[in-house]
Symmetry: C2
Subunit: 108 residues, 2 copies
């Protein structure tokens, strides 16, 4: 991975680096799309706080919303999600190489 790619991955991880946001993603992944009210129903923080988290996830391209009547429905964003997954795989592969090299080093 080029330094540019590494730099591009940071905002993605940063968006994932908050428990409330991870729970939101998990909720969307298992429960499907939902309105802000629905998504903040079981949350420990206010509706406005949830809204801000959704905005952060949207900026990272992980979710998107669409207004329907008086409520706005939020859902996972498939495209970028696949991209995120690919990122994770590439980074994991890089780490695996390092792990293998370390192991070889230790065993020699």
């Amino acid at each position: 991975m080029t330094p540019a790619q590494v730099r591009a991955a940071a905002p993605l991880f940063a968006a994932l680096g908050d428990a409330t946001r991870l729970q939101l993603l998990a909720r969307l992944a298992t429960g499907g799309p939902g309105s802000i009210a629905a998504l903040s129903a079981k949350a420990a923080v206010s509706r406005q706080a949830i809204r801000k988290h959704l905005d952060v996830l949207a900026d990272a391209g992980l979710v998107h919303s669409a207004r329907q009547g008086r409520e706005s429905i939020w859902a996972l964003a498939p495209e970028r999600l696949a991209e995120a997954h690919a990122y994770l795989d590439r980074i994991a592969a890089q780490w695996d190489d390092a792990l293998a090299r370390l192991k070889r080093f230790v065993e020699t």
Copy 2:
């Protein structure tokens, strides 16, 4: 994944959510262990800033250090690294399920 597991993953992603730290990890993964001076040589920020980033990575369990003479050598932490990788895989799988369900939904 349980809510507790989700919550536990957040600090890990947070540690990865900074370009400087990702570059440090990449450097350690490709170049092997190094002293603070060596690691901050090509960096855009000060040695002290790099040191702080290393501390953050260490708190997340991704790297560890050992003093050798007057310098302290930092390296990737294999155990936790594998754990991090497993996390990523589990989350990716959860997302893949959501993707598949979305696709099915769209195609129906």
